[in-house]
């Protein structure tokens, strides 16, 4: 039971070059992820400080095991899915053969019926 993530209704073409629409979507998602990362690290520092623990030194000394390598690689896969979500949306629209013309037709239809 996966909650739907893509949107029905052709996404508007904002830039003359469609690639720029994609780029804006990707970079802004990236901006979000950097903020999330920053928040977490900030939180980690606050938590450890509250427990009297020097996080920076422990980070430098730490060795990653196999489980860690796998978990981090899995995270990267999901992360990339978030950043490049615009392509998932594009593919869903293509699969549904959705077009800007259809969007306008829907507007006209809804205005009247």
């Amino acid at each position: 039971m996966a909650v739907t993530k893509t949107v029905r209704g052709k996404r508007p073409k904002i830039y003359d070059n469609q690639g720029l629409d994609h780029l804006m979507a990707m970079t802004t998602a990236l901006v979000q992820e950097v903020a999330v990362l920053r928040d977490r690290l900030d939180l980690a520092e606050r938590v450890s400080e509250s427990k009297g623990f020097v996080l920076q030194d422990e980070i430098e000394a730490f060795k990653l095991d196999q489980e860690a390598l796998e978990a981090r690689e899995l995270w990267r896969t999901k992360y990339l899915g978030r950043i490049y979500a615009i392509f998932e949306q594009e593919a869903a629209e293509l699969a549904a053969k959705d077009t800007s013309k259809k969007y306008q037709e829907t507007l006209d239809h809804i205005a009247k019926s």
Partner: protein, 404 residues
């Protein structure tokens, strides 16, 4: 927006509200901050780009300044400032839903299980297994909410409701209050202050979604029987669980507001909150007719929604119309041109009883309820003049009132 007051508004939890991990909360909080930033720091420059660049370029080519909102769009759509602004607006909406959906998706089985553990305070849920949602709800995912209002992804699903309850909080940047109930609360305040002798015994909220605007009526008219209708099974199941969890009694049912099962002359008060702009050219008239039909003589109809375009200048109309083209709100623009007073007359209401007014936002009251609601910011928000493109232009909700 004030330079010193920071928006730290936080949603208050209730038993069925999805919970966020630290990262999910960061992702969602980013969206709230991002939307605020676009509104306070990017939007103001847009008028400049219009006055300085787009409008003169248009005038040079066409021999006149843009005369209506479609002409303004023609002038603006190739301008890089506008393209940047509207791109980020659309993207903020997409990030908003995705940031909430990821969280709901993770905990959906637990949420579904939790529904049955919530102790009832006497509210009810009436779902119709044969119900077919109206075409204008399923044609597009309105306001880009993936799956739409009528989406169902599981048995005993509540996902659409969970996604909406958290998503709409972020969309409104917390201005709807910690329980998303500003609209309902504003209308209740308006009714009790403007019509202090009006004591409704039976109330229905049309297009109630998760019941966020419905429950204030149960709270502020405790003697009344309160109903909420909507078209989505999962949305309503969530609404029912939400109300029971919050200890407020309401009766939710799956109905089309343009063709309801309620009897004639059975309600004292029929309300709706931001429903009308999500119906259609034909349905809106039918909704008004249904309101008249189910109201008792002397009963009141109140629709809280966005103000008609009326006398707004073309640039303002264009900005407000962006929702139609960039946020999957197909009826938004068309609805703003309709004569709702005439629709009310056509439905049977007496012209003398029909009026548009503004119900002020209840945001000041939220400052009392939660530490995250900074009192200075709340005061500033309740008093300032909102610009086109910002949340709730006018600083209040436009209400259309009519009496039978």
């Amino acid at each position: 927006m004030s330079d010193s007051a920071l928006n730290t508004f936080q949603q208050i939890s209730h038993p069925i509200l999805p919970e966020a991990t630290a990262d999910e909360l960061s992702r969602q909080e980013f969206v709230k901050s991002f939307k605020s930033y676009i509104q306070s720091d990017i939007l103001p420059g847009l008028k400049l780009s219009y006055d300085v660049r787009s409008a003169p370029a248009y005038a040079k080519q066409k021999g006149e300044l843009p005369e209506d909102r479609w002409a303004v769009r023609e002038a603006m759509k190739h301008d890089p400032y506008f393209q940047g602004y509207v791109s980020l607006q659309r993207i903020s909406q997409e990030l908003m839903w995705r940031s909430v959906i990821e969280s709901v998706d993770r905990q959906l089985p637990d949420l579904i299980e939790k529904v049955d553990t919530i102790k009832s305070v006497g509210g009810t849920l009436d779902l119709d297994p044969n119900f077919v949602p109206p075409h204008y709800v399923t044609a597009l995912d309105i306001h880009c909410m993936p799956g739409g209002y009528a989406g169902v992804v599981a048995k005993n699903d509540v996902a659409a409701g969970a996604v909406y309850d958290r998503g709409v909080y972020l969309y409104a940047m917390g201005y709807m209050g910690p329980f998303n109930d500003d609209m309902g609360r504003s209308v209740c305040n308006y009714v009790t202050r403007k019509f202090p002798d009006f004591k409704p015994e039976k109330i229905v909220d049309l297009g109630c979604t998760v019941g966020h605007s419905t429950l204030p009526f149960a709270e502020m008219f405790p003697e009344a029987e309160v109903h909420g209708v909507d078209v989505g099974e999962a949305i309503l199941r969530y609404a029912h669980a939400r109300a029971e969890g919050m200890g407020l009694k309401a009766h939710f049912s799956q109905q089309d507001a343009s063709a309801m099962k309620y009897e004639d002359n059975s309600f004292d008060l029929v309300v709706s909150h931001i429903l009308l702009h999500e119906t259609s050219g034909k349905a809106i008239g039918d909704v008004f007719k249904e309101c008249y039909r189910i109201l008792k003589p002397g009963g009141m109809m109140i629709h809280a929604d966005l103000p008609p375009f009326g006398d707004m200048d073309p640039y303002q109309q264009f900005i407000l119309d962006n929702e139609t083209y960039y946020n999957n709100e197909p009826f938004w623009g068309a609805m703003r041109d309709l004569d709702q007073i005439q629709l009310s007359i056509d439905a049977g209401f007496d012209k003398e009883t029909i009026v548009f007014d503004t119900a002020p936002m209840a945001i000041m009251e939220f400052a009392m309820t939660d530490e995250s609601y900074d009192e200075d910011l709340a005061k500033e928000l309740s008093e300032r003049e909102f610009e086109a493109g910002e949340y709730a232009p006018g600083g209040g909700w436009e209400v259309l009132i009519a009496r039978k």
